[in-house]
Symmetry: D2
Amino acid sequence: MTASGNPVDYESRVRQSFGQQGAMRTLGAELTHVAPGAVDICLDWAEGLTQQHGFLHAGMVSTALDSACGYAGLTLMPAHAAVLTIEFKINLLAPAKGQRFRMEGRVIKPGRTITVAEGRAYAMDRGQEKLVATMGCTLMCVQDREGLSD
Amino acid sequence: MTASGNPVDYESRVRQSFGQQGAMRTLGAELTHVAPGAVDICLDWAEGLTQQHGFLHAGMVSTALDSACGYAGLTLMPAHAAVLTIEFKINLLAPAKGQRFRMEGRVIKPGRTITVAEGRAYAMDRGQEKLVATMGCTLMCVQDREGLSD
Amino acid sequence: MTASGNPVDYESRVRQSFGQQGAMRTLGAELTHVAPGAVDICLDWAEGLTQQHGFLHAGMVSTALDSACGYAGLTLMPAHAAVLTIEFKINLLAPAKGQRFRMEGRVIKPGRTITVAEGRAYAMDRGQEKLVATMGCTLMCVQDREGLSD
Amino acid sequence: MTASGNPVDYESRVRQSFGQQGAMRTLGAELTHVAPGAVDICLDWAEGLTQQHGFLHAGMVSTALDSACGYAGLTLMPAHAAVLTIEFKINLLAPAKGQRFRMEGRVIKPGRTITVAEGRAYAMDRGQEKLVATMGCTLMCVQDREGLSD
């Protein structure tokens, strides 16, 4: 897999877009790994992200995983392209119980129009890392569509 | 479809659980409809919920839809049961662009152990309501499992 | 929703493509309804389509539903376009137990590149029709791609 | 991961159930690998399994993948349990073009009631193996439910 442009380009594009997501600030999320086709996002547990049992809400897990998958896709897209999520599916394997969480997004099939990525969510609970969710995600590369930024 | 217990019971159980979800406060979400097998959740656009183009983040759409589907399922479960999401899939049909959003959760197949629900997300943009996402969601009814609240 | 070209065109395109699917002959499937954005496929139970309990195999249900959704999409695409399935998800609500089955494919969001459809599978068992599966399906409209027919 | 009972038991249970699936005979499918939590199924291209461009129909790919995932799950279930597919999602990464196909089913999270598996479909085309589809699959372990075999 080769990234479009040089590494500085794809990483700065990902970081710039990430910085524009209000949702990532709400999650307290950080970009901890950015490579061609691979992005990791980490976040700490916070009361504002919980479901009724005090664990991370499945939707908040999917918010971070969707961004990890989308940005993994964006690293491989042309410089002026935007990435859109067409759909994703998430399986919750265990309650998202922990102090910190790491979300991996990995491209498994890049494409001119359609890119497919997979995500894995890990909970770090008292020093142990545990797989708590898996995502399958379909992304679209959008070019020259003014409406996206209006 | 018949609810377990009387209406006061299922509605108060849903409202109590909803009130314990930190994620719903973060979304500014309200329970606007609670009936057997059917729950609606509404929320306003807020900067803290956005993706990079300023629209509602797909993950935030899924957070509200997942809660709407889960609580639609809970209305039909026994009084002391808890509801867990096993998996969901969301299709993003259009950018979630609007001032306010309404998320519908509807049970299409209740079951003793497994319940299947569907969600629809509508964006209200300058007075027009538009379908922006659909969800398919599998829920599990959990009884007597201490670990959920520890 | 408007079909591309006149009704004769879209219906004949669907019927011609359907006739080229060896899988539909194996299923004994018939096109029983073709309208803009809506296609039904029916088939009878047969021993060669079963899982280990003698019911219709979930994969065979999905084969017919995928074709119903794909052709529902094709009715709304340009005359020389081909339709590809990007992904689908199926929920099995009940064993597919019956003598005959009806699969509905319905477009819920047509698009220039991406079309989203939903499917419903009904089993007709001793005169009763029962919903046994639901599908969410993402389709792509492909034009001018030689490789598809080589 | 440990299988229930000794290896002879789980393998014979899988092979016996596989032999009762009319759909597997229709596909010309063979069980080529059976281990705890891991099952492979192989099949050759046949005209009766095709979509309109002559490639393997996405539904037929999903039929074999669903069985591979289901039997991967069954290897880890108690001796008298039956396995049911609750739902699956498949992403078609490339046309299923080839002379032979290998479907991998792998358990990623076994459970007393719910088991989650992942599938990968590979096409062998002129000596090259290519990943053409991925599946995420939720299975249920069913015990003592008479109705399944009636």
